[in-house]
Symmetry: C2
Subunit: 233 residues, 2 copies
């Protein structure tokens, strides 16, 4: 980490002077003090993006869901638990960044209520009512839409079928510049593993396949993002 | 680990010749390929018990829920995901062990159905029907009850209120020899942290308070268990 930090002092890199905001990891939506709805995201892809962006000279802020102990040097980390926490921290920052990469696996639903005490088995619940959480990326996009200096917006689509179709729809619906789509059930891709294979779709209709370690895929994604950034003032 | 293994060759320890089965970590109950109900257990307490039992000369088998990368040398680890997986692996082994310590935070409910594909946001579910999972410890207790050579059964009770009362009830209802109760909302206790403070209740009505690092607490718990084991044949 010291070597990397020292190196960055001498090689400003293609993203020098840019601020990149990244969400990573899962969110947890608690139904009582000890139970939650979540997903298997480990934050590896998002943290690889943070590392790559830092390596290219960017200032990096990661809004990070609960992933346990991870390397977090060289960039600012804002720890969050729920989708609501994540939305709040992102919306407080998205106006001022050059790029927002939403790689977190945000829970789409949360329990309607959160019990103050651990719910005993005998009491239920047998039916859990779920309500939608804030859509972090869509809200961020709405917030910056129409601005003169609008950050490049990059989404992720973790799908198990019709991956490219769903991703293209999401790109258009949320007003994104690019979306990184992957089939999380494919071997060597998705949650927890160190490799990934993704399809990057951009607003101009182009489609690129990337595969390799998450670190390699992260560098390639940031190379594509770099092309989408407006020229420096 | 090598030093510990070498030491155990020369000092058989008070649990030499005993086989201890331990469950540790959370379980995950999936509602579709990418979403689940779980809890914040990191397996630290259970793995500290495994380490302590091994240090006292026991043969140790850990049935371990999803906790990410953890030290797992010196004992057998059986990886599981759901409560059903955990119950199956425990019931396959509990007949042959001298002690079963159920320290895992097993999900009490699971979604009634598991969708084959990721459920799209627009489709729902807005109501999630939950059904009970197998009670691993109660099933293990039923299985061995009345046997001549019955393992010592130790439960855990993670509570947020009326801790000792709930734990005493659980000890009696499930036919346990001891139960380790803790208030998971107390500072320096419960999920994820390296320390714990617990109350150990035994069938004879005694109650002991233990606190310290999870490693220290683990050693003390095993010291109490050692007293409950029948003399060696």
């Amino acid at each position: 980490a010291i070597v990397a930090a020292a190196a960055s002092l001498f090689a400003p890199g293609p993203l020098a002077g840019r601020h990149v905001l990244i969400t990573a990891g899962p969110t947890r939506e608690y139904l009582d003090p000890v139970r939650f709805i979540s997903n298997p995201s480990t934050g590896k892809m998002g943290l690889a993006l943070a590392e790559a962006a830092r390596g290219m000279g960017a200032k990096v802020t990661v809004v990070l869901g609960p992933v346990g102990a991870v390397e977090r040097s060289g960039y600012e980390v804002v720890d969050v638990v729920s989708a609501e926490d994540m939305a709040r921290e992102v919306l407080a920052r998205v106006d001022e960044v050059d790029c927002f990469i939403a790689s977190a696996a945000v829970s789409d639903w949360k329990p309607e209520t959160r019990a103050a005490q651990k719910v005993k088995k005998s009491e239920g619940p047998e039916a859990l009512t779920l309500v939608r959480t804030p859509d972090v990326l869509a809200e961020a996009s709405r917030r910056v839409s129409g601005r003169e200096k609008r950050p490049v917006l990059v989404g992720f689509a973790a799908e198990t079928q019709r991956v490219v179709e769903y991703a293209r729809d999401k790109l258009e619906r949320k007003g994104l510049d690019a979306i990184v789509a992957n089939d999380v059930t494919a071997p060597g891709a998705g949650f927890g593993v160190d490799t990934n294979q993704v399809t990057v779709l951009t607003r101009d209709g182009k489609q690129r396949e990337l595969s390799g370690t998450k670190r390699e895929v992260a560098r390639s994604i940031l190379g594509l993002i770099q092309e989408l950034l407006p020229p420096r003032p």
